[in-house]
Symmetry: C2
DNA sequence: ACCCATTTCAAACAAGTGTTTAAATACGCC
DNA sequence: GGCGTATTTAAACACTTGTTTGAAATGGGT
């Protein structure tokens, strides 16, 4: 199983470096040195640096998407059985909570969350799209649920607010629990669960504000 | 005045390419070709590529910071004269509105807004800090005002929510008016002023949510 | 023990990077 | 007009980039 070992060592190293230093700023030489594999191993096992990025993203994002989709569908399903509209708070939680809790799910997952938190504002369209095309279906599902939950909002306004929420999330994801304004005069940042609770309150209030 | 011409042509070209392609992904050769100046002109006039980035950011961010600081101080000052606490909505608007309206203030300013919208999640610490150190004072000022406006919120929660707002803003800035989820089944994005209004409502509701 | 496909390895490839150099040109001022 | 500083220029610098190559090593199956 030397093959899988090498492949995974590359994936783990790439996840760390792509997230912390950026995709273009990570050289294959730095990566293969960290992963303790030969320089040519990346092209042998993945074909190219671009294909490696896709593998890094898919490895974790596909499972995460399944979790989110299942949770959202459950919320919608249960509402349908009750004969009521799904709750905006339940829908939002089904999308936000698994995403942020994913950080603590396994070693390296925190780097992955950092990576996709940064992907949305990535200038390189190749990198951005690689992540976008995987995440779009989940957003579609959430949007459809929210349309039912908040029928008083126009479609355009709802979409705009959903984008605000995605922006807030990606900021939280790319920041970890620490403050970008790390200044001694500022208070200490919140713990993980308190942060999720605050994010839920903030996003829900913004979403439900009168139009 | 050939010197200023060259300097400004470099600054304009750099602003456009740094914003759209990213700082590290922009080569001096591509930049000098676009600006129609000699390759060595960048190092002659600015010293290095890093110093050029700083010049690009400072050229617009220093004036923008003055506008924002003045507006925030005016809000606080007027409240002080009334003997009341400043309004959270006035403070927020004093920070958000000039920032987003800056996009239409002059040619190239839209690229600049894109650039600093992306800076916050920039993996390269050099780039990130170059922008952060200039923006921090304005955030400090806003935070101090909001402390007075919303005394019922604990300091840690207020800071967290201010970060959410900054995340939302930087997302809007890095997206322009167009949707990252540009899909024909999604509704058309909002116009500039409607977007600002929605952002204000969203951020204010999230900020004032019960703790 | 042998074979054969899989994997590893050091070396080299062509192309692109930011920066420096020294000569050529331009331009304001006496 | 001509001196002297400021600017522009083409060329070269040393270095890094992703990728390819062909030989060496590995390891499971019969």
């Amino acid at each position: 199983m030397a093959q899988l070992d090498t492949k995974n060592r590359i994936l783990n190293g790439a996840e760390q470096l792509f997230a912390r230093e950026g995709f273009r700023n990570t050289s294959l030489r730095a990566l293969t040195r960290l992963a303790e594999v030969n320089l040519a191993a990346v092209n042998y096992h993945f074909g190219s640096k671009d294909a490696l990025l896709q593998a890094v993203i898919e490895r974790r994002l596909l499972p995460l998407n399944e979790i989110r989709a299942k949770k959202i569908e459950t919320v919608i399903e249960q509402a349908r059985q009750r004969g009521t509209a799904p709750g905006a708070d339940d829908l939002l939680r089904a999308f936000i909570e698994p995403t942020l809790e994913f950080r603590n799910s396994s070693p390296g997952a925190d780097d992955f969350i950092l990576l996709i938190g940064r992907s949305l504002s990535e200038p390189d369209a190749t990198v951005r799209n690689c992540f976008l095309k995987l995440v779009l279906p989940a957003v579609h599902l959430l949007f459809a649920g929210l349309r039912e939950a908040l029928p008083q909002l126009s479609s355009a306004v709802l979409l705009t607010r959903l984008q605000f929420i995605i922006g807030t999330m990606s900021h939280v994801m790319s920041m970890g629990t620490l403050s970008p304004l790390n200044d001694p005069t500022f208070p200490q940042p919140l713990e993980q669960q308190a942060l999720i609770d605050q994010l839920m309150k903030y996003a829900l209030a913004g979403l439900e504000a009168p139009e």
